[in-house]
């Protein structure tokens, strides 16, 4: 009768970490950084349908790299957690900290349990605070470790090289165009110093913002197509239907509707 090989716990954890890191390293990277009006997510993603960046709640966004089915399961679980919590208590009681903790517990539990393979993912949970100082970016890795990142966070295959470029160009309160251009330049510099910077166009990027200036309670908004082209080209950004100016009304239920003057209404389509 054969007895199983003994594997030291250190070795076991190291093997599992190597396995997860290898899976994550194969994917393209994601940069999340603060800008003047909130937080911007920039991902290199050639698919228009399979998103790496998503909305969790009114002021909470999600970004991930790694295996799609695994991080999409996490994204959906996050939405369920947030919606159920917001419905049971109040919308203001849903926080990124609570969600990041739940994710950390889950990822850590899976990583250290012998029965399952670890998730090959890294995720970022970002939340818009009441003011810029209160904005939060949490970065979570495959083993459940969690970091509260200042200014910006990078994850994915060449995170080190990309983070270096973002760090050298980052400043407080960059405008949206400058922040996106910095992130795109950094994502293109993943070969490290000395290698030519890859050009990334509208088709290769997935960009979204948590925008404090948006009148609706749901602050998450994708920036795609002509709007993204304008941001990348440094041209004035075309107006966005969701960003109507005006004060949201103080309704207890969401989503509150922005006020309107009857003269502002569009004329009916001809």
């Amino acid at each position: 009768m054969s007895s199983p090989f003994y594997v030291a716990p250190e070795q076991q954890m190291k093997d599992r970490a190597d396995f997860a890191r290898k899976g994550i390293g194969r994917g393209r990277s994601v940069v999340v950084l603060h800008y003047a009006d909130g937080i911007v997510f920039v991902a290199e993603n050639r698919s228009q349908a399979l998103h790496k960046v998503g909305e969790i709640y009114d002021r909470i966004g999600f970004a991930a790299v790694g295996r799609y089915n695994e991080f999409d399961t996490l994204r959906q679980a996050g939405i369920r957690y947030a919606d159920l919590r917001g419905y049971s208590y109040d919308r203001t009681d849903v926080t990124a900290r609570g969600l990041a903790n739940a994710y950390a517990q889950l990822l850590g539990g899976i990583f250290s349990s012998g029965g399952e393979k670890p998730y090959e993912v890294e995720i970022i949970v970002a939340e818009l605070g009441a003011s810029a100082q209160d904005d939060q970016i949490y970065r979570l890795t495959y083993d459940g470790s969690i970091g509260d990142e200042e200014h910006f966070a990078v994850m994915g295959g060449s995170a080190e090289a990309i983070a270096e470029v973002v760090r050298s160009g980052y400043a407080d309160a960059l405008d949206l165009a400058a922040a996106v251009q910095l992130a795109v330049h950094a994502l293109g510099s993943d070969g490290g110093p000395g290698t030519p910077v890859r050009e990334l166009g509208v088709d290769a990027l997935e960009v979204a913002v948590l925008d404090r200036t948006r009148a609706l309670p749901r602050k998450f908004r994708r920036v795609a197509g002509p709007r993204l082209a304008a941001v990348l080209g440094g041209q004035p950004v075309p107006a966005d239907a969701g960003g109507v100016s005006g004060q949201p009304d103080a309704s207890t239920t969401s989503p509150a509707a922005p006020g309107v003057a009857l003269t502002d209404l569009p004329s009916p389509p001809a």
């Binding site: 159920l84 950390a104 889950l106 850590g108 539990g109 109507v244 009304d249 509707a257 006020g259």
Partner: protein
């Protein structure tokens, strides 16, 4: 709320959250935390329709009318409890999501809760799927929720919503009405629900035209609500002393917008001035 402590929970997220499954929030809540749903109440045997119905305030008249650029929905501000006025500034018209509106008549507490659930349901689907439901899909979801409330409706807690929105695919505003059993009916041009709806609908019949501009459509629904309040004691007219006016929202291609109180106030002032001369409202031609 049971998340985190539910059986089968792993590390802060219940196992049900991690299963690939439906995009419906109502289904999720029914599986994970059924006690948070409005339909979880059971009144128990022996409660008659009258006793339950008297426990809660009732909301009254909601009016909706389409115009070429969308649909207008308006509701009066009164909630009643038998002969008492329970609230004089209740809001009964809500945005369901960015492109649709829901107005409620019936048991106010349950109805407001159901609107909250409906809003989360639409938002949840949109976030999970990455695309919003079609307008008819939204109307059907609401019908399912009303159907779930049938046991309570039979005990006197009926909720009768009116749903309207901008249909992106058809490029027009559409209106849907419901009965207490969850039946869904598409209405054309205009409709009204609640205790004053008979009078409101009568007024709109004479005032409505499909090609009215948005400001005229808003004036028409204000006139209809005024007529409803004129003849139905449970519908509140404009409160000139406190400046409390009907809530009016518009759903169009640019989304849902709420007409400002100052604007409604100015329109109501004109309406009331005209009614001082002719109390029964604008005159329609006989032929």
């Amino acid at each position: 709320m049971t998340d985190g402590s539910a059986a089968g929970s792993r590390g802060g997220l219940p196992a049900a959250f991690l299963r690939a499954g439906s995009s419906s929030f109502v289904d999720l809540a029914a599986a994970v935390a059924p006690d948070v749903l409005p339909t979880s109440r059971s009144a128990g045997p022996g409660t008659s329709a009258a006793s339950l119905g008297d426990l809660t305030p009732h909301g009254t008249t909601i009016v909706a009318a389409t115009f070429p650029g969308g649909v207008v929905m308006a509701g009066d501000r009164r909630a009643t409890m038998s002969n008492m006025i329970a609230q004089r500034d209740i809001e009964k018209v809500f945005p369901a999501d960015e492109f649709s509106l829901v107005g409620i008549a019936g048991a106010a507490g349950l109805a407001v809760e159901m609107v909250g659930l409906f809003q989360v349901e639409l938002e949840h689907y949109e976030k999970i799927e990455g695309a919003p439901l079609s307008l008819v899909g939204k109307a059907n979801r609401l019908a399912t929720m009303i159907r779930g409330n049938l046991p309570l409706a039979m005990q006197g807690l009926a909720v009768v919503p009116l749903f309207a929105g901008w249909d992106e695919a058809a490029a027009m505003g559409r209106i849907f009405s419901y009965d207490a059993t969850g039946g869904r009916y598409e209405e054309h041009s205009f409709f009204s629900v609640g205790s004053g709806s008979i009078f409101a609908r009568g007024a709109l019949k004479k005032l409505y035209a499909p090609d009215l501009a948005v400001a005229d459509t808003v004036m028409a629904v204000l006139q209809a609500l005024y007529d409803a309040a004129d003849d139905d004691s449970a519908t509140g007219g404009p409160d000139m002393a406190r400046r409390i006016f009907p809530v009016i929202m518009i759903a169009g291609p640019d989304g849902v917008q709420r007409v400002g109180d100052d604007q409604i106030g100015a329109m109501v002032d004109r309406l009331v001035a005209a009614r001082r001369i002719r109390p029964d409202g604008p005159e329609a031609r006989v032929v």
